[in-house]
Symmetry: C3
Subunit: 411 residues, 3 copies
Amino acid sequence: MKKDLVAVVLAGGEGKRFWPITTDKNLFPFFGKTFFEHAIAHSLPKEVSRVVVVANEDNAPFFQSFTFSVPHDVVTQKSAKGMSDAVLAASAKLQGASLLIVIADVLEDGSVFRRIVKRGLSERVFGVIAGWKPDTYYPGGYLALKGSKILGIHEKPGQGNEPSQYVNVSGHFIAHAGKLVAAIRGTRSDADDLYEKAVTSLMQSEEFVLEPYDGPVTSLKYPWHVLDVMDVLLKDISSHQGKNLEIRNNVVIEGNVTFGDNVKVFENTKIVGPCYIGENTIIGNNNIVRHSHIGAGCVTGFNTDITRSYIGDNCWFHSNYIGDSVIEEDVSMGSGTVCANLRLDRGEIASAIGDNRMNTRRTKLGALIGKNVRIGVNTSFMPGVRIGSNSMVGAGLVVSRDISDASKKLL
Amino acid sequence: MKKDLVAVVLAGGEGKRFWPITTDKNLFPFFGKTFFEHAIAHSLPKEVSRVVVVANEDNAPFFQSFTFSVPHDVVTQKSAKGMSDAVLAASAKLQGASLLIVIADVLEDGSVFRRIVKRGLSERVFGVIAGWKPDTYYPGGYLALKGSKILGIHEKPGQGNEPSQYVNVSGHFIAHAGKLVAAIRGTRSDADDLYEKAVTSLMQSEEFVLEPYDGPVTSLKYPWHVLDVMDVLLKDISSHQGKNLEIRNNVVIEGNVTFGDNVKVFENTKIVGPCYIGENTIIGNNNIVRHSHIGAGCVTGFNTDITRSYIGDNCWFHSNYIGDSVIEEDVSMGSGTVCANLRLDRGEIASAIGDNRMNTRRTKLGALIGKNVRIGVNTSFMPGVRIGSNSMVGAGLVVSRDISDASKKLL
Amino acid sequence: MKKDLVAVVLAGGEGKRFWPITTDKNLFPFFGKTFFEHAIAHSLPKEVSRVVVVANEDNAPFFQSFTFSVPHDVVTQKSAKGMSDAVLAASAKLQGASLLIVIADVLEDGSVFRRIVKRGLSERVFGVIAGWKPDTYYPGGYLALKGSKILGIHEKPGQGNEPSQYVNVSGHFIAHAGKLVAAIRGTRSDADDLYEKAVTSLMQSEEFVLEPYDGPVTSLKYPWHVLDVMDVLLKDISSHQGKNLEIRNNVVIEGNVTFGDNVKVFENTKIVGPCYIGENTIIGNNNIVRHSHIGAGCVTGFNTDITRSYIGDNCWFHSNYIGDSVIEEDVSMGSGTVCANLRLDRGEIASAIGDNRMNTRRTKLGALIGKNVRIGVNTSFMPGVRIGSNSMVGAGLVVSRDISDASKKLL
C-alpha cells in the first residue's frame, strides 16, 4: 500500500510584528486572493494525499472552510510556540505518514516543494531540506553539509561562523512522521530551536539531503514585507481586462496590468505595469500608477501618484503621493497628503518595533497604515511610520512617530 | 377700469448672517447677473403693472437704476424690521392696488408667482399664498388649512405641532392693499410675526387659498446657501460658447458648460458640466472643474481641482483643491493650498455663527472666503471655516477657526 | 609694427554676495557652458592679440586651462581689491600694449566691445568708455560729458546729482597701458573708486570719448541675478533637438526649446520656450516647464511646475512648484514642496544679505538654493529665502529665514 504523504502547513504563528496590519498574514489579500492561496494552496505537489493545517484560534475557521484538492484537517495551537510544538499539535493526524512540512507565511517558488517530494520519494532518503543561499548573513538555521548530505542545522551561528552557505527554509520532506515526533519529544531546549535540534539529532541515524533552492524567499513577518511579497507576485501578473472596463481618452497603459471587472480609468492617466487594479476601482484623472497593487472599490481621485505600493480595498485618495507604502484597507487621505519614501540622508529606514527602532534594510519605504484610517489634507508621513487601525490623523501634520490603534491625532 | 397689480419686492433685509460675504444678497452675482435678476426680475407675471421695491440704504441705488419692464418705485426701510414694516414703508405707493408680495432673497421657480396671480385674479379670492412641503420640520410659518382654504399662519409651531404639511413661502397675492395695511396697523406683536398675525386676522373675514408649490426653495441666508442657489441655477445652464473661446489640445468637456467671451482652456483639462465659466477667464493646464461657477477674469493656474464650488470674479489659483467652497471675488491662493470639504468622521459640518457653532446640515462643505483675500502656499482650510474680506492668510497654516475681516494671519 | 591689443579680463572678484551659490560666478553654468564663455570669451573683438586674465586663487586653474583664440596669461590677485589693483596685478603683462578692459561677471551684448575697439583704433583717441543709460538711478560711476567727450567719472553721485544720464559699464579702451598704470600709481583713495579717480585724472590730459550702449547690462552679483542673466541668454536660444530625444504621447512644445542629448519628456507635459533642457534630463509626466533653464541629469518627476527658474545639474523634483527660483545643483525636493514667489501684499521682495534685508527690486522671486541640498515633502519656501549648500531641510516646514551652509533643519 502506498504511504500517506501529509502536507503539514504551519499557520499558527502570531502577527504582532505585522502591526499595524491586523489581517492574519495567511489571509492577507493579494489580487483578490489570500496570501495562503498564493504561497501554499496552489503549490502543493500532486503526491500530497492529505493536508493538516496547524492554525491559531483566529484563522482556524478560514482553514476549516478552505477547499483543498485533497482531504484536510485543522488543528489549533493554543499559543504560537514554534515549529516543534506545531508538529506535536498535529501529531495525532500524522501517524504512519510521510511529511512535507511547509511554513504558511513564507513565499517561495512552489516548484521547490515538488522537487523536495520527488527527491524524497525517488531517492528513498529519510529527509530532504530546501537550502537557500542568502546574499548576506541571515539570522536563520544554517546547514552543516558533507557533499549534499546534511549533518546538522546550526541555528543563528553568527556571521563568519556559518557551516555552509545554505540556510534552512520552508520545505522539509520527512519520510516517517513517527520518528520526527519521537525526536522532538526526546529533545530539550530553552530556546526557539527545538525543532532544529530534534532534526539534527535525527541526522545522526537518518540520511538528510540538501535540495538547493535559488528562487525568492519572502515572508510576511513585518508590514513592509507586503511590498516584498507583492514584488514577487507581480512578476507573474498578466495583461487582463475585466468586464466593463472603461478606459477614457488619453490613458497610457504600459506593461502587464490586470484590471478587475468594472474598473474605470479617467483621462490623462498612466499606468505602468506590473500592476493589479481590483474590481469596481476608479482611477481618476491625471494619475500615475506604477508597479502597484490597488484593491477593489478604491477611488484614486484627481492627480494621485501611486508607486511601488500596496493599497487594499476601499481606499480613497485625492492628489496624494503614495510611494513604497502599504495601506491595508478602508483608508481615506485628504488632498495634498504625502507618504515620504526616502530619508534626507538617503540612509536605510528604521521602523520602531515595540520599544526598538528596527532597520528595515530598505532605502525606500513610505507609510504603513492599518485598516479604517481617516487622514486629513496636506499631511506628511515620514518614511517607515506605522499608523494603527481605526485612527484619525488630522490635517497639516508631519507624522514622524507611529500612531497607535484607534487614535485621534490633530495639530 | 382694470385694477393696478403691484409687485411688492421685499429687499430691505440685512446680511449679517451672510458674512464673510459682503455683497448684498440681492446683488450677489451668478453667471454675470445679480441674484435679484435670477430670483425675481425675470419671474414677475405679465399681469404686474407696477413694482415697488422695499430696499435698504445700501442696495436702494441699485434698485433705483434697475430697469424693470414696468414702472417701479423704490422705498427705503431705515432698518430691517420684518415684512409688516416693509409693507407699511411701501404703503403710500400701494393705494387701491392688488399686491403680489415677494421676498427678494428667496429663489423659487418663478412659475409659482404666475400661478398665484392667475388664481387670485380668476377666482376672485382675497388672498392666495404659496405653500411648500418641506422634507423635515422647517422653522417657518405653517398654514392651517380646511381643504384649500387657509385659516391661519402658525409661526414656528414646533415639530409635531404643525397644523398642516404646508409652509408659507415667498409669493402672496392680496386683492386689496388697503385692507392688508389696515390689518397690519391694527395688529400688535412683540415678535417677528406681525405680518403673519395680521394676515391671520384678515383670514377671519376674507378668503385665502393655498397654491401648492413643489419646486425648490432656496434663500441666501448663510454663505453656504450660495452653493444651494448655484445648484438650482446650474440645472438650467445651457451649452454655450462665447466669442473667441480658445480650447487647447486634449481638453475634455462633458455636460452643459457656458463659456463667456474670451475664455481660454489649456491642455489636458477636463470640465464636467453643469458649469459656468465667466468672460476673460483662463482655465490652466491639467485642471479639473466640475459642477461649479467660476466668475470673470479668473486664472486657475496649473493643476487645480474646482469641484461643486462657487468662485467669483478675479480669483487666482495654482495647484489648489477647492471643493464645496464659496469664494467671493479677488481672492488669490498659493500653490498647494487646499480647502478640505469633509470631516474625518464624515459628520455634518458646523460653522461658527456669532458665538455659536451652527450645524450647516452639510456633510460636504469647504471654505467660505470673502473679497480681496490673499492666501499663501500649502495652507489647509478646515471644512466650514469663514475668512473675512481684505485678509492675508500665510503659508503652511491649518485654518480651523474663522478669520475676521482685514486680518493678517501668519504661522 | 602693429601695437599689441590686450584684453584685460577682470575675474578676481569675490563671490560672498553670491551666496548661497558657491560656484565661482565666472564658472557658473548656463546651457552647459560657463558664464565666462557667454559673457566674454566669445565676445572679444578680432583685433585683440592677447588676453590677460586677472583671476583669484580659486578660479585661476580654470582660466589657465581655458583655450582662447589668442595667447593668454593668467595673473592672480591675492585678494579682491578693485579694478585698480587688478590692473596693477596685470601690469607686467601689459607693457607697451593698448587695452580692452572688461569685467568678467558682467554680461553685455558683445558687440559693444567691438565698437569700442574699432572706435579707439580708428579715431585714435586715448580712451573709449561704454556708457549705458539706466532706467532709474544706478549706484555706479556716472560720466561727466561735453558732447561725446568724457570729462570725468563721478562715482555714486547720488540721485539728482548725476552729471549725465550715462553710467560707466564694462568695456574700456585705453590706448597706452603704461599711462593708465602710472595714473593708478599716482592716485590715492580710501574708497573703492581708485580706478575711476585715476582715469578721471588721465582725462585732464588725454581724450576719452563715450560709446553709447543701449543693450542689457546684467551681472552676477547677487544670486537672483542668475535669473536676469538667464533671461538675457534665453532670448537667443534656438529650437534644437539633441540625439536620442524621446518625446512621449501628448507632449506640447511651444516656442524655442533646446534639448540636450538623451532627454526624455513624458506624457501630458507642456514645455513653453524659451527653455533649455540639459542632456540626460528626464521631464516627467504631467509637468509644465516655462521660460526656464534645467541642467543635465535632472529628473522632474510627476506633476512639477517649473516657471521662470534656473535649475542646475542633477536635481530631482516631484510634484513641486518652482517659480522664479535659482537652484544650483544636486538638489532634491520632496513631493508637495513649493517655492512661493509672491508676497501676500504683492510688494518687492527682500532678501537678507549679511545682517541686512536687501530689497531685490523683484516682485516675483522664489527660493535661492545652493548645492547638494536635500529637502523633504510639503515644505514651503517663502519668497527670497536662501538655503546654504550641503543642507537638509525637513518636511512640512515654512522656511521664511535663510538657512546656513551644512545645516540640518527639521520641524
